[in-house]
Amino acid sequence: MSNLRLGILSFAHMHAYSYAASILALPNCELVAIYDDDEARGQASAEQYQTTYADDLESFLANNLDGVIICSENAYHRKHVEAAAGKVNYILCEKPLATTLEDGRAMLEQCRTTNTHLQLAFPVRFAPPVERLRSAVQAGNLGTLYCATCTNHGKMPGGWFCDTSLAGGGAVMDHTVHVVDALRWITEAEVTEVYADIRSSLMHPKVNIDDAGLLSFTMTGGLLTRPLMVSLDASWSRPEAYPTWGNVTLELVGSNGTLWVDAFKQYATVHSNTLSTPEQHYWGSNIDRRLIADFCEAIRTQRTPSITGEDGLKALEVALAAYESAQLGRPQHLPKQ
């Protein structure tokens, strides 16, 4: 079996580093080239992962790539997907899909007309505790589902994540899509009504973008036999001193039982005289590596990606509806009329 030829387009999103390491760790795939609008960052990454830095996007895409992973700033996903579509058959795009529905729809359309497969990077689907939750729900173990209480907390990431023109929004844009996608995957249902309370600069006085967001929404259809009520805390509410990046938790309450999932609870604690605060050593499965392995398998077997552009668009819709709800102070209905 020949190696899959993969390229990474931009290291603006820090997940690119984890994806690059995953490519190096996985058998039968190769990180052929890197391109980055930030040349210095691209050069450094190419050196770190012992691959070639392409001088321009054109030559990067001329590498006869089997797949490209796009980790640019959210607002640049569209231009990068549109540049790659038709030249590379498989694209893995970092979440969120885009910063506007218009961009997102245009990206899907471009991929459709060029017969390009677009996959979204929602690694939470690959967390084994979340897989266990899904199999329990799909087997009907919880009975009628009533409520999901979820969190995706993090630290304030800084940089372009706090620039609305590049990120499209702060904590709510950053975190909503992960949990919405996981819930859509678990229940096969769609979000139909969204309410949200959102605050800017609440815990980070000078950040000037939303750092706190509490969504309350309903889902209907799929495996659900009644509307599911959901709350989601998307806040950047972990202080800098927190021993890990944040969390993804889901409590699912049904008529037959309740499941509590803390997706990254598999850790040991490190106390060291060389550390100012304790550190968590995560020993659970590497979800980024599993995501990349899944992307590679899709390419190798020429199948439809497990997480589609449409999935990315649906999750983005919810994040945008949350901002609208917070702005207007009332629930918003989806899909938009």
């Binding site: 009533y146 409520c147 209480t149 969190t151 309410y195 309370d197 605050r199 609440l202 815990m203 980070h204 006085p205 706190a212 509490l214 309350s216 309903t218 009520m229 959901v230 709350s231 805390d233 806040s235 509410s237 972990r238 202080p239 001193a241 927190y242 409590e251 309450v253 008529s255 039982g257 309740t258 509590w260 803390d262 102070g329 009332r330 629930p331």
Partner: protein
Amino acid sequence: MKRTGTKRIGVVGAGMMASWHVERWLDLQRLGIAGRGHPVQIAGIFDKNQQRAAELANTYTCPAFTELDGLLAACDIVDVCTPTDQHADVVVSAARVGKDVICEKPMARSLQDAQRMADVCEQAGVRLFIAHVVRFFSQYEGAKAALDAGKLGSPGVIRLSRGGSFPGRWYGDYARAGGVILDLSIHDLDMARWCFGEVTQVFARGLTFDNIPECDHVIINLQFESGALGHVSGSWAYPAGKFVTALEVAGSDGIYEWNGFAPDPVLGSFDAGSDLTSVMNDMASPLAPEDDPYSKELAHALDCITTGAPFRVEPADALATLKLALAATASVKQGTPIRLSEFSPSAADVLDTKVLA
């Protein structure tokens, strides 16, 4: 005239909460909890159900009264442990004969009843303490202390959850208990207000009006006057025997986290077929008697009544928490956010049973 010696406690109601209180009063009497308070004794127990009153009195070797007036005449402090919808009448009766009152949460079933309780107690010059016991749980006091000490910075997002299985009896009767928000989540709504101050807007979803037998579950969004946000979830939908609480207070400089899934200090494992699980539930996270939250709460009330010091929860505070709980319940019913400044439920609204608006 206030007695200065032994305080005689008259317990009204003979249900589960009454037995918890009686046990703690007896602990206070026996242990003199941490040097606080004055000697106490149980003056007796009254319940509309005479047999139940007699049984509880028998268990704790104290008198049972067949008339409320008889108990009121024989005690210094009335401890009201009746179902919610009866609080107001008992409290008003006690106040009118000049007795200080400790009353279980929620303060009342309606805002009108609660206001009447506060007014009558004030006019009668008696003290009224609403037993919001969560403010006396050490892990919750710790959050408030960390916040007050500035360790967490300015208020950000507070998350509180509390859930168990459906309690049955009168608790499950919406007209009497008011659903899971009024009976259970009110603990966390009170804690949220204690930590982050006044709430300006509430939005809630829940099963309260969905006519699902033996089941209620709610998720509540809070906006605080300070700009901070809060989330409270409450459940009467967990499997039998499961009860879980959790607390997280995040601010600009830090976070305080505690949850009931943290490993207990006493863990057990027994052979299949052994019936020691219930024993373990009592052993899992034990505290010294003086640190029991109910003992702390009753000792605090006794202390304040004796010295005239302000309660940790004054009636106006409990009223505001009750109003918030009723507003959250109304939001579940209406499906819209509710601004507290525009919310004034009539007694009829809250007693309206499970008919969707």
